[in-house]
């Protein structure tokens, strides 16, 4: 598992999967559909991304396309890091 994937999986497990087994979360599960992360939870995700990776998330990037699953988060973070580089 690459480090972005493990960082993100760990963050989601620690902050949103309280009574569920972390293994049960698939990388392409929709957080909204499964109800794991609601719309205020998304703000916590954004805070994590900004703090952990030192990037800025614009208001118009706050969309499910970027944030609504482990895979989408990984893609989004990777593209933000590329922007910096």
């Amino acid at each position: 598992m690459n480090s972005i994937q493990s960082d993100v999986r760990n963050f989601v497990a620690e902050n949103f999967l309280f009574g569920e087994d972390p293994e049960s979360l698939q990388n392409d599960d929709s957080f909204l559909e499964t109800g794991i992360i609601d719309s205020t939870g998304v703000l916590e995700l954004v805070a994590f991304i900004e703090d952990h990776y030192s990037v800025e998330v614009d208001d118009d990037e706050l969309v499910p396309e970027n944030l609504d699953s482990i895979n989408r988060l990984i893609d989004f973070i990777e593209s933000k890091l590329k922007e910096l580089a």
Binding site: E14, N15, F18, G19, E20, L32, G35, D38, S39, T40, G41, V42, L43, E44, A47, D59, D60, L62, V63, P64
Partner: protein
Amino acid sequence: MCGIAGIIRSDRQAVEQTELQNMIETLNHRGPDASGTLVSGTTGLAHSRLSIVDLSGGIQPMQTENGLLSITFNGEIFNHIELRAQLKQKGYQFKTHSDTEVILLMYAEYGPDCVQHFNGQWAFAIHDQRKQQVFLSRDRLGIRPLVYTQTATRFCFASEVKALFALPDVVRRVDLTALNQLFTFWSPLPPRTFFEGVSELPPGHSMIVREGQLKIWQYWSLDYQPSDENRSLDDWADELRSLLIHATQLRLRADVSVGAYLSGGLDSSITAAIIRNYTNAPLNTFSVNFRDKDYDESRYQQEMITELGTDHQTVCCSYADIGRIFPTVIQHTEKPVLRTAPAPMYLLSKLVRESQFKVVMTGEGADEVFGGYDLFKETKIRRFWSRQSDSKIRPLLLKRLYPYMKNIQAQSPAYLKAFFNIRENEINSPFFSHLPRWDLTSKLKTFFNNDLKQQLAEQDPLADFSDQLPPEFAGWNSFCQAQYLEAINLMPGYILSSQGDRMAMGNSVEGRFPFLDYRVVEFASRLPVRFKMNGLNEKFLLKYALRELIPESIRQRPKQPYRAPEANSFFDTNQQQARFEYVNHLLSAESLQANGLFQPAAVERLTQKIQQGRAIGTRDNMALVGILSTQILVEQMIHGRDVTIDNQTTATANPLI
């Protein structure tokens, strides 16, 4: 108000007075002024008194002259003066000036139907020796509590569960189905309570206990059949105004002074303004303020204080104040809570009591009855939305709904839309209005341990609730359906009990509710919906009818639901630790494991998240309050152990918190 208790044996043995005394001693907070017991063979009644009407004459339990009828009663019958006059005309004679005697003689005249004549709030039991039965009744809306249980040899009832638990043969166990329902609907479905084998008599119901058999029936129900009268707005407004004024005047009847809560919101502003403008009663008002400005409403309170010229007092709540009083609060709620909001209400009634008042007028009920809650607006918007779910403009409407909620303001339209995601099957559900709240609350069940989850897997709380809906429900306007659900579930199950009766009685203060006068309620349920919610303008008729009494700023103020600080009351995020030892103890793995309800690892993750300041959403805050209050309740009422707050952690050493 008062506390009541009683035992009805079915084994031909006499009731023991000491047992009645043990029961009634636990209800001392409800009636600190006097207490009494009355044993008549296999039936015993007990009473603890908060003297309000006929201070010298109204002693209880009370008997008729011939001793054939006796009563223990908690509450007030506000129209007792009119009923007494009617009975006197029929030849009845009275020994006292109390409303208690009026109930007894109304029962003598009309039997169980007597309750249809009462305008008030009550829980009482009448021992009828003529018919060898006990008649119990609870008021229409659930203002006063009444719980009961049956063992092998007897039927026992009381105002609160703690009185039942004073008896050695009453088993103490958590009702897991009730827990499941509470973590869905905020309250168990009646007649369940949080405790197995302990039931509550639902609002609007009466009961007869005879030869060990129970007969329970509903004597009154909410009915939203619309009026077919073609009336003008002013006509409706005139009737509303006079009903409310009369309801308030009736509720000032007391031989002690009556105070009023004044929160800064519309409803309590109305009751206070009516007292000032339509009665000669002095106006003494009380409110709660918060150090955390996100919750504080003092600015609006000050407007009404100035407008009315009242003698006003406040109690200020810090985070630590709430956390410190929370175990005592749960001792009184006798059920888990999902919000800390009851705690400041407890501190408020303490202030009232210390100011030498025994009675307060308060504005609860207006939101349910006149359509004030944001839930009703939300529901309207969601229905509107469901007709064109891809609209980009509609999510922006939602931002208008919640100007006071920072988190919602920060949402992007895409997420707001998802937040209100409406599935096909939801739009037609009778519970459409309440599904967002219930779905959110149900998420908390992730914290249940695996055994509990398995045991609950076959249960369907929504189906259980659906079974309780009356047949007329399906024919009501959808706005009225939402009002109904709120009025029979959240109002008696949380607002009137955990925030209302239990918090006021905890400090021996009686609350009175003009908006829950049954004539006001029946009037409001006939109102055309557009006079309740006009567009997105909530409580439209109420604001219109009372516009001369209330400043525009209060009428136009966005609704701010009463809220109190949540997780912050228990954890200091600056010092990253719990504020009190009891929090650490009851959320520890040992304690959680011992009670077998919640997963220790999951709770640990939650407390870490909270301590480190990462938990900003409603869900995490509700989870913390729900889990902690359940643990406190089990500790206090199942294990019978005190939860002390003697040992404070160093986090509370700072008096400025």
